[in-house]
């Protein structure tokens, strides 16, 4: 499973945020995205996930191979942990949620409603969803927000297991995840904040006498 990005330009609204982003992630490898707040990590991940169309460049990945996890947990407060996972399992074509429950230690919480859980517990549930999707390329946006040290370790173990199965991951994060073998990509050199070249209004135009 390979994700390969060539000369990608990403936009948020009318503004171009990044340009010339080039990297590739082979099967069994992880890539850590770094960059200051507002550099465009989220924009890049949304583009990889296919939510935002790229301005230019190519994203090569097998169709339906990318699992995206955003800042927001995407959980329903009124549903239990089990129901939340079962929902995502049905959306992604029924898969056994047992490994996901195991990996993030959710068994004691199964019957709790998501609305009654702490922020960290919700995050675990939302990360467990990744395993349920069964997709090989994980694109994760700040996955460790609200997690304690123990659960950061659990998450790192889950990522390692995923890589060992031949998956790959692109992770935007500010903390050390304990993945020594992961490559790191600083996106600062790609930051190119300007009006997108495709926007005809970014280009100056002479108006004539009127």
């Amino acid at each position: 499973m390979n994700l390969s990005v060539t000369d990608l330009a990403c936009a948020r609204g009318p503004a171009q945020i990044l340009s010339g982003v080039t990297f590739s992630v082979a099967a069994g490898r992880a890539l850590i995205l770094r960059g200051p707040n507002g550099a465009g990590k989220t924009t890049l991940l949304r583009t990889l996930a296919g939510l935002t169309p790229p301005l230019a460049g190519r994203i090569e990945a097998e169709p339906e191979s990318i699992a995206y996890a955003a800042h927001a947990d995407g959980l329903k407060a009124a549903l239990t942990v089990e129901e939340n996972l079962a929902f995502w399992a049905s959306v992604f074509g029924t898969r056994d949620p047992a490994p996901a429950i195991e990996a993030f230690h959710l068994a004691p919480l199964l019957q709790r409603r998501a609305g009654e859980m702490s922020a960290g517990q919700k995050r675990r549930l939302s990360l467990a969803r990744l395993l349920v999707t069964g997709r090989p390329v994980w694109c994760l946006d700040e996955p460790t927000v609200s997690l304690d040290t123990e659960n950061v370790a659990r998450f790192a173990a889950a990522v390692k297991a995923h890589l060992a199965r031949g998956g790959s991951a692109v992770i935007a994060t500010h903390i050390d995840l304990g993945l020594p073998e992961a490559e790191t990509l600083d996106i600062t050199p790609f930051v190119a904040k300007r009006i997108a070249a495709s926007d005809p209004f970014g280009d100056s135009f002479a108006e004539g006498a009127a």
Partner: protein, 218 residues
């Protein structure tokens, strides 16, 4: 996709407000009408078809902004958009869930409210039939409107402004079907036309709604 429907129905039952609210609104609206126009049964019987259809339409409108808003706010919509479920399918399922939680109870309650308004007996089957065939169109059109306005904070009022003109043909044919039935005229033609609008809306609007969702998710 059935998973989406099941989840929406579970949420509607658990979170409350799904099944009950529109129904209660329909009841209150119908109850208020005689206070506005007077208690004369003759007048009430005459305006009952229009009032019942209008009440059902407004009750449908009430819950439209929740169709996508909650999923949008908690990030579920982003995640569904990256899943194997096509957004067209999502829109269709959302419309179906809205109909089951809103339209269907209205259809069931309408005959009882017809009694309150002294609706002539011959019109009851037509009332139920026209609402059963027409409310799915209201849900489909409403889902389209909700998809257009999902990115807008407090878009509820705008949603009504966009959706109400689109509701007009359904309302015209639906109410006409019932009022013709009360007068013993041909009610089948408007009923067929209501069904036609519903069929067209169900076939095409999920695509328009998905296009709007895609733009809003960018």
């Amino acid at each position: 996709m059935i998973g989406l429907l099941k989840r929406d129905l579970t949420l509607a039952i658990r979170a409350g407000g799904g099944f009950g609210l529109s129904l209660a609104f329909f009841l209150i609206f119908t109850t208020l009408v005689p206070f506005g126009v007077g208690p004369q049964t003759q007048i009430l019987a005459e305006i009952a078809p229009g009032i019942l259809w209008l009440g059902a339409l407004l009750a449908c409108l009430l819950s439209l902004d929740r169709i996508f808003q909650l999923d949008w706010e908690d990030g579920t919509l982003d995640l569904v958009a990256t899943s194997p479920v096509p957004l067209e399918g999502l829109a269709a399922m959302k419309a179906l869930a809205h109909w089951i939680t809103t339209g269907l109870p209205l259809v069931a309650a309408a005959p009882v409210l017809g009694l309150l308004l002294n609706l002539p007996g011959a019109a009851y089957p037509w009332l139920v039939a026209s609402l059963a065939l027409g409310t799915p169109a209201l849900s489909a059109i409403g889902t389209f409107g909700a998809a257009l306005t999902v990115g807008i904070k407090r878009g509820g009022l705008l949603l009504s402004l966009l959706v109400l003109p689109l509701y007009m043909p359904t309302l015209i044919f639906g109410a006409l079907c019932v009022s013709r039935a009360t007068e013993g005229q041909d009610a089948a033609t408007p009923l067929v036309l209501v069904a036609g609008i519903t069929a067209g809306s169900l076939a095409l609007l999920p695509f328009a709604a998905a296009a709007a969702l895609r733009v809003n998710l960018r």
